[in-house]
Amino acid sequence: MSFISYLKDGISLGSVYAIIALGYTMVYGIAKMLNFAHGDVIMVGAFVILTAITKAGLSPLLSVVLGVIICTVLGVVIEMVAYRPLRKASSNLAVLITAIGVSYLLQNLALLIFGADAKSFVPVINFPSLTLFDGRLTIKGVTIVTILACIIIMVGLTLFVSKTKPGRAMQAVSEDRDAAQLMGVNVNATISLTFAIGSGLAAIAGLLLCSAYPTLTPYTGAMPGIKAFVAAVFGGIGSIPGAMVGGILLGVIEIFGRAYISSQVADAIVFAVLIIVLLVKPAGLFGKNIQEKV
């Protein structure tokens, strides 16, 4: 029974990684950049939700909505101020370094505003636990909500990208920016929308992460951010189902590694798996590796 218990913990943690990875993968797919500040937007989201509940006394639902809105705006502003001016720069390195800079900026701003000591996150999700196998396995409400949220987001995003006009514009920009412009697609607006969606999802990821592991510091987003990046690469960066599968696999590997091998090297195992996957399948599990006719 412990195996199943670990598995559900892994899927739950992996679901959070998956939601974060979606932000990485969409931004990479469409803006062709790695937004290393993405993890820190999660932290901002969690702080906004916590502050709204404890300081402003808002209801949990309202606080979450506020967190999503603020992160969405934050993501769009970051893109506009820090990344857009560099889009025509000759080197992709410029924007990558800027992203790392934005990451530190967010961490240090949080440090300034909220201080360095860990805050304990308040329970926001009140969902009944599920008891199975005559009480031998309990699935916490948070776990259920996390997994459900992940599935809903995944299905919703897939439908959005494949069935709606802005979604098609995203795919067009992702594949060929100039050709998309010739169709009348506003590339800047499409990239803004991508950042908005990714950052809004980051707020939800922040909520779910801190609900499962309720300590919050300015560095809370950094490690999950990097792991979600690994998940996105693992699944094939640019691919939405890839981010999903990569995230969940990574969560399961991490929890199993912690449980069966060693909790100290769990993170090392995660990265070792990434290296092996990339050696065998450089484009990732769902990576696009298509032969095009010319």
């Binding site: 795919q171 060929d176 050709a179 998309a180 010739l182 169709m183 009348g184 697609v185 696009k288 006719k293």
Partner: protein, 236 residues
Amino acid sequence: MAMLEVKDLHVYYGVIQALKGISFEVNQGEVIALIGANGAGKTTTLQTLTGLIPAKQGSIIFEGKDITRVPAHKIVEMGIAHVPEGRRVFSQLSVYENLLLGAYTRKDKKEIEESLKTVYKRFPRLEERKNQRAGTLSGGEQQMLAMGRALMSKPRIIVMDEPSMGLSPIFVNEIFDIIKVVSESGTTVLLVEQNAKKALSIADRAYVLETGRISLSGKAEDLLHDESVQKAYLGE
């Protein structure tokens, strides 16, 4: 007044000057060919026209409006469709989705549906393959898709960059037949081609580009029989 008027256009790639002050005009209903060797600036001219490359100097007037500084994504709405060199279809998307993207700036669903029918009628092969990924089409089919996609915006002028490039002779003939049909249905055509013979045979007038300058212009028929053109571009 000409439909499209290009005046003294200068374009640079960094420090390299690609267009050194070219001027030409296209009248409503005409088929205009822009011919010239590799690197003469044909593609640059078209890309500047549709806003993909900024002009350093000069002006582009379309239907009386100055579009020199209009961003690329606003050009198609004004009535100019660009079929880019190398087709540039969205290979991950289906044929149908590619065509829908062609109508991206249009709102009326019913009219879009009508245009789709017209395009399918003109290119039956695209209808047969509407659910297939564009990347799996043959070169000639991709060229048809790129043209169909451009027509989905209901353009008043369609600019085409090397539509015959890399195609088998059968497809080349087919593509040129389609260009004729498009022109006869009232759309003005600006055509860039390395296949000068073919281009001149369907064009009304033509301009010859040589290293960023227009070296010769005139009636297509006259150019076809011009000795210097024959020598340089028609391989005779």
